[in-house]
Symmetry: C2
Subunit: 367 residues, 2 copies
Amino acid sequence: MTIRPIEIQRTTAKKQKPDQQQLGFGLHFTDHMFIMDYSLTNGWHQPRIVPYQPISMDPAAKVLHYGQTIFEGLKAYKTSDGRILLFRPEKNLHRLNNSGRRLGIPPLDEEAALDALQQLVAVDADWIPSEPGTSLYIRPFVIATQPALGVDPSAHYQFIIILSPVGSYYPEGVNPVKIYVESHYVRAVKGGLGEAKTAGNYASGLKAQEAAKEKGYSQVLWLDGVHRTYIEEVGSMNVFFKMDGTVYTPALNGSILDGITRGSIIQLLQKWGIPVVEKTISIEEIYEAGRKGTLEEAFGTGTAAVISPIGELNWQDNKLVIHEGRTGELSAKLYDTLTGIQSGKVEDPFQWMVEVETRKLDSSPLV
Amino acid sequence: MTIRPIEIQRTTAKKQKPDQQQLGFGLHFTDHMFIMDYSLTNGWHQPRIVPYQPISMDPAAKVLHYGQTIFEGLKAYKTSDGRILLFRPEKNLHRLNNSGRRLGIPPLDEEAALDALQQLVAVDADWIPSEPGTSLYIRPFVIATQPALGVDPSAHYQFIIILSPVGSYYPEGVNPVKIYVESHYVRAVKGGLGEAKTAGNYASGLKAQEAAKEKGYSQVLWLDGVHRTYIEEVGSMNVFFKMDGTVYTPALNGSILDGITRGSIIQLLQKWGIPVVEKTISIEEIYEAGRKGTLEEAFGTGTAAVISPIGELNWQDNKLVIHEGRTGELSAKLYDTLTGIQSGKVEDPFQWMVEVETRKLDSSPLV
């Protein structure tokens, strides 16, 4: 494959960088962004890195009305010896295309998209924070931009990548979170969009999340939309339960996101010889294990939080405290190992990390 | 309530108007648009009518990532004596707020929003087409504009109204359409967003719609996401079936849109003494009536198409031809009556129509 050269227009007004101790999540954006356009006649064309700036959008753009959009989230890490590492970026770009298929969005050349992503990270390499727990969050996304109100797939799209230096997703850090088991609202249902990383799934959760917060819970645990019994995800993460020495996670069923952290956790557990099972899990089963004392740990997994231990569930006003509300040993080991691999401090047995070549940039055409 | 004065900035470069015979749907936009901003500190503020123009949006705006957006659709009609009529606009603005409640979007003052809508229509009154079947489609919508990637409700919003002169939604006109009964994809499920007019519901349907089109069908009939048995909507319309002299439509259940045309059809039928029943309807029941010969007519209802007769259903490769594939008498009478009321040609027994006062504008401040 020939990777088309990316035009790079550097900013002349570099922004002041935020305090690394107080980054928060997705609040600050770097000096540059990547954009590429799609039209029916030209396909994907004109890849370019430009100063971070507002996009000009027709108010009739389909993304604003019919939610035809997909996104990804991944992170770049700076190692202590100054290298820049990405965590399994090819998986994200592959999933972006899978989501696109569900939303009727034309596929990207994954290799070219990865090259663009790497070049953008290299251009803004000085934005990658170095404090423990920090990283550069990368948000690739595609939006439908055709100004037309008919309900059908757009003729024009933009593929954009923006970068945000981030701290931990949860201000609490890796402390256990309290989770509300949602019985009223539903995130997604089989046959819907649940498997795709697309705006509508998150829109659906905003209200439930808000209601849970009012009750003192940081996230919701989603049950399936058909039986309201089977566990799907927690907030915007996949979820795992350790019961009687075995780790369980809901099997992919079409309404659950095929998480890249989820897949990596499964590989790590298998390597460690810890039994791990993907299956349909009912909420009743978890409570039953809690009553019997065989529920040892529970945690959410995702790019933003990596591992988020669950200290308490509340299902229909029945509270279930897990591991005395403290972080479990396995949760801690998984967090340390995964963040260790990501930051280059721990050996990477699976060759998950991809190093960003910053030198390559010197030969790029500057505009 | 005090209606805040709306600042009006008129365009200096009026666009050429499209051919009224070839308007299509939602392809052309008028000279002006309405915008109002929301912030946590100022609430809804700075209502203004400005020349139609692209909006400047941060690429991290929440609407693009998490689909926090709601919309409405209604129409303005020009009568033969030059008056401008809106069809039940207060219903649309009320529903917009209902949708907003589900999406965590702060409510609009409905009276002020209606005033804004009327002023905008008055400013662009010369865009309202007069050919039979044409109208001015009005699209009010709210988008979450805060540039932040955390999954929680936005702190900033914009309420925008755009206008589009339209022909019939279906190029076929009021001829019956062929509908594919969708067994794989699901539009919405109880506990999800189905009841709200929001982007995610439409995103979900794009793929199904595309697949149906490939098979030669213009729209899909959605079944419920739980049992895949009960009828919900058809494409982006509500649906009615006339069986053995009685008209049936699916009861509102939380995943069906509370259509304004739907409600108006029910009122008209009641006035005419035709029995009309809102209930749970299975697809099997429709096919059974088809076999017995008691299925007399079927039609979709919505703002865009008004009444869209259904000439054929295809459920799991079983075709069911309705009323010999021709428009039924009741469908035709409903279409003629409703479009007659809307265009001011037929008496309006329910006082549905709201006249836009164009004179009022003369006293508005011009900027």
